[in-house]
Assembly symmetry: C2
Homo-oligomer: 481 residues x 2
């Protein structure tokens, strides 16, 4: 059995099944973008896809793409955005340790990237959808998808909606990847499906020169004259890697991932000397947290204390709950909030008073009573000085009965994905322990570490990363430099 | 210039400076323990030390060694401890994702390890020092050094003091390493000082077979017939690695580290295919937090909220402040608490009322007032239901003036070290991306990931890790299996 941690010597390969300038492993959004750009830069390209066809986890996503700095959609919807404001937001939301170089590059190139996607045949309606955090149920495009207009970010950068959804109704991942795959098909790119890349091939001089793959039980070697680009997904579906690197995610029931996210691309790159980055981070969305539905309630941790402004992006709430509150959280609502919304979940506890709810749920004595009293005092005055929730979501919780919804991560309404992966340079070149490129090797999409930094900037950042840095990897690999 | 990310082919080595069964890189506590055990298991051993003599960061430490399960010192001091209680504590304090196998092994072997250290000539007085968290100023031995008798751990495992200090007055790191180095000297071990290991050497079959080092500008190759053990420290002094993997630590002014902690051992192992583990974790102690001095005050974050039981181990407070409170924390005391203690720092803000202090320091309106009122209500009743501080530290803060001490990590009283490193098995064998051993390669001490898990269990856990798993690496390498 071939192992991803092996490296094959090129000299030991008996015969090559095929050869191209650039080999791309995986046909999700990053692989498609890399292949298109490598081709357009003059390279011939072979794509190896382990499943029966392209799409990958990108086709399973909501389809939002995080772009800004003044895209035509933003302009049509009346948002003033600039590369500088996009940069400021990404730097703040990706702290600590944001990747300033990549954030600067992406911020300055985001409008160009929007036009490139449209040129490939991905349409975007010039419209805004006011419900934040996730894709619209209509074919409308733009949403606030990273808490840009919420504390603390609204004070750091001018708020602008930047989640762009390709023009189709509801979840747009499948449609987006249809568009991208059509763009691949319009070019003379060779796609080898049902072909699972397993091991990299290296020349005597250290240059990565190909891939050994399996198809129908048979081992096939593919040669790359200029470069190999790994775009094989993340590791959310590899239980061992998740448990080792980000055990908090192991508790999250739903993964925004497909079977291919088993870490094979990451491990192949690692075997070639690639460094790993931010393996202990994850994206975790608290799936029912849509502000207009639940933002008027308050989240409390196991101590009965609030921990975030409840009106923000559900990914920020999920990460806060999972990584800093021990994965234990509850949403407290009153009857008025409950009536104004609808729920996927039944309340876990219901009581006529906050003190009764506190006792029934077993919070520390006085904790919930104090938390709600403090919140209500502020809400009555239209202010949330501690967490900065916006006034329109500040309603005193005073209408019994009161209820707690279970938002603990174990079995709770969360979904997550991994954001750690191979360390890469600005052209997708895989970097080794000394920050030098591994010759001939590239990575993009979730096989690489999320470009901007820690946490998860907002919905759409992963497709932005995969397409934008996938393109750069394709161009750079095609140049053979 | 030789780079740590290279691997040399054994066949390309012109001449070997020397050869031994086992090569040990670095002569801190892990290197000494590995060398002694490799020798005692029948191997001849060469130790390569980059500085002019042994000691390393171990000699710069307080000298506590975390041991339990019923050591003679624990018995003499009246603590009932068992391997099971030690196991329970380490599992809880190292969550999420504790390394159950290594914790089980260490818990069951800790008493044997104590006797081994005494046999090597490390003396331990049969006595207890009641001030927790750090080593005694006297020659007394045993301290609570991990918050074992504080919430939440006191409810999880029977509290026992487990920080063992070798018998000398005050800081014991230098004395401890003198004892260990004498044990090395009593054996016919060859120590090559001023010799900086830089690159591993690999046989054609993949086995690690030596080290290329530099001494006085000259490159020297050392051959290992059975194994190479990397015990070259952590990466706290490598700014690039710290910024990349654990940027929070970059803000911490003081590092519990020496020049050698530049990550070279980790990078050498990585170049040989070793995986890295828990690189984003760190130990960070809030250096002035000795309960009897400051435990009667309360820590607040930038929102003016408490976040921990202030009577616990200063490492738990430091990690909480750094990783979950954004590195921003203040200690609030009143005049009575201030008088009862002494401070290294001047107060940052002083006011006659809590409301005045809140306004002067710029906390959110009402936050500090509410926090102190809630704390005082509990303290008057002798209870801290939310955080569980012990009654003896619960004193209402009611004596003006009130003061805030700055405990933000930037420039604050913190010291830190790295705990991430090479992934290893129970015998110190370096593991690759598939969890298989890299043939002939071992790591221990801070070159390996801290054995027990995330965070930092308590003072003394790093010397325990280095000596115990260093020994196991030495024995296993000597066996040549």
């Amino acid at each position: 059995m071939t192992r991803t941690t092996e490296i094959r010597d090129a000299a030991a390969i008996g015969s090559w099944e095929a050869e191209a300038d650039v080999l791309v492993v995986g046909l999700g959004c990053a692989g498609a973008s890399a292949a298109i750009e490598a081709h357009d830069a003059g390279a011939d390209v072979i794509i190896l896809e382990r499943s029966g066809g392209g799409g990958g986890t990108s086709a399973n996503s909501g389809g939002l793409i995080y772009m800004g700095g003044g895209t035509p959609v933003q302009e049509a919807a009346g948002f003033e955005d600039t590369p500088e404001e996009l940069y400021r937001f990404l730097m703040a939301v990706s702290a600590p340790g944001p990747d300033e170089t990549k954030i600067r590059l992406y911020s300055e190139s985001s409008v160009e990237h929007f036009h490139w996607l449209e040129t490939q045949g991905v349409p975007f309606k010039r419209s805004f959808w006011p419900e934040p955090s996730m894709e619209s149920p209509t074919d409308d495009c733009l949403v606030f998808s990273g808490g840009e207009n919420c504390a603390p970010f609204s004070e750091i950068a001018r708020p602008a909606a930047r989640g762009h959804k390709p023009q189709t109704e509801g979840k747009a991942g499948p449609f987006f990847m249809q568009c991208m795959l059509r763009a691949v098909e319009r070019r003379p790119l060779r796609v080898e499906v049902d072909t699972r890349a397993q091991t990299l091939v290296r020349e005597a001089d250290g240059r990565i020169a190909g891939v050994v793959a399996r198809r129908a039980g048979e081992e096939l070697a593919f040669r790359a004259r200029r470069g190999v680009i790994l775009t094989a997904g993340g590791f959310a579906m590899n239980d061992g890697m998740v448990e080792r690197h980000v055990p908090q995610l192991a508790r999250v029931g739903t993964r925004s991932a497909t079977e291919g996210d088993d870490g094979c691309g990451i491990r192949m790159g690692q075997a070639a000397g690639g460094s790993l980055l931010r393996m202990e981070q994850a994206e975790v969305a608290l799936a029912t947290t849509i502000p207009s539905r639940l933002g008027r309630g308050i989240y409390v941790n196991a101590r009965g204390l609030r921990f975030i402004n409840e009106d923000t992006y559900y990914g920020h709430i999920g990460i806060e709950a999972l990584f800093r509150q021990g994965g234990r959280a509850w949403l407290l609502v009153d009857d008025a909030t409950f009536e104004r919304n609808f729920f996927d979940q039944k309340p876990l506890h219901v009581a006529e008073t906050i003190a009764g709810l506190e006792a029934e749920a077993g919070f520390p004595a006085g904790a919930l009573v104090n938390t709600v009293a403090q919140y209500n005092r502020g809400a009555e005055a239209g202010a949330d000085p501690i967490f900065g929730k916006r006034p329109e979501f500040l309603v005193p919780l005073v209408h019994p009965p009161y209820a707690l919804l279970d938002c603990t991560t174990e079995g709770g309404p969360y979904s997550g994905l991994t954001v750690g992966g191979l360390a890469t340079g600005t052209s997708g070149e895989v970097l080794d322990a000394e920050d030098d490129p591994v010759s001939g090797l590239y990575a993009a999409g979730r096989t690489a570490a999320l470009f901007c930094g820690r946490g998860y900037a907002g919905s759409g950042i992963s497709l932005a990363d995969g397409t934008f840095f996938g393109r750069r990897a394709g161009r750079h690999a095609a140049s053979g430099s």
